[in-house]
């Protein structure tokens, strides 16, 4: 898969909201889990 530009990559063929919404929340969940487990 070759992306023409960064904008094209972020747009995800019009599905950017859904794709990045999925990845962003997953990353936040993982970071929150690591933070809470490291405390105490």
């Amino acid at each position: 898969m070759e992306w023409g530009s960064l904008n094209e990559f972020l747009a995800m063929g019009g599905y950017g909201l859904y794709v990045w919404g999925s990845y962003l929340v997953t990353v936040v969940c993982i970071l929150l889990e690591i933070l809470t487990v490291r405390r105490g």
Binding site: M1, G13, G14, Y15, Y18, V25, T26, V37
Partner: protein, 241 residues
């Protein structure tokens, strides 16, 4: 030296630390590799366009949500039968990660369902049984923490975990047993894969990454639980591990 000596919290505590570092590194390397395949090697899906790229976290999270539950119930059962402290602690350490994976599977499923099916949510067999799994995890965690005596909490929550195991095959086979919007299994041992090999590889690498992450973070959490529950044991204050 015997393998079984690691079943005591005291000997397992320093080992868990070393293992967690190894598994975090493995998870990081596999994530970078898996995302590279997922976004730069795997082609656009001819039906779903780019929206299908959610698969690289959705399927691994869904697999882990079921797998972690089985492992959690296994350790809870071992703790219930043989009364081994570390087994129950391991079960408790797995629950929050399992709940997180279940939430991620549901969340990414909603964001995938919207452009693909035209709806965020339907009350069909696959989605509903996965939601029940989330409630089982939450119920297990709440029940465990609501009982002051840790040993009694271990036993009561173990019973809940074991009863809830029945839900896992229901989730897995729901797409065969009932009519559902959700597609069938993406990977099967009896059929050749229905998707491009790079898509499949990316998904499997990400599943491995999620697996390694789950082990790593659960090991860190079991150390925390050991510190809390054995806080009056002398070995903890002696070792800085």
């Amino acid at each position: 030296m015997s393998f079984w000596k690691f079943s005591s919290p005291q000997t397992f505590y320093p080992v868990a630390k070393k293992l967690s570092v190894i598994f975090f590194v493995l998870a990081a390397v596999l994530t970078i590799w898996g995302l590279y395949i997922g976004f730069f090697v795997a082609p656009t899906d001819f039906q779903q366009g780019e929206s299908y790229r959610i698969i690289f976290i959705h399927v691994p999270a869904a697999w882990m949500s079921m797998f972690i539950y089985l492992v959690m119930a296994f350790w809870a059962g071992v703790g219930l039968i043989w009364n081994t402290r570390l087994s129950s602690m391991m079960a408790h350490a797995l629950a929050p990660t399992g709940a997180m994976m279940t939430f991620v599977a549901l969340w990414t499923g909603a964001l995938w369902g919207r452009p693909t099916w035209g709806t965020w949510w339907v009350w069909d067999a696959r989605l509903t049984s996965e939601l029940v799994l989330l409630f089982l995890y939450v119920g297990y965690i709440v029940l465990r923490s609501s009982i002051d005596d840790p040993r009694r909490g271990d036993r009561a929550s173990a019973v809940l975990a074991l009863v809830g195991v029945v839900n896992v095959p229901i989730i897995y086979f729901s797409v065969q047993w009932w009519n559902t919007l959700h597609q069938g299994a993406s990977v099967s041992l009896t059929k050749s894969p229905s998707m491009a090999s790079s898509m499949l590889l990316g998904m499997l690498v990400m599943a491995l990454a999620f697996w390694m992450y789950s082990i790593a973070v659960s090991l860190v959490r079991v150390r925390k639980i050991i510190r809390q529950r054995e806080s009056n044991a002398s070995w903890l204050s002696e070792s800085a591990g």
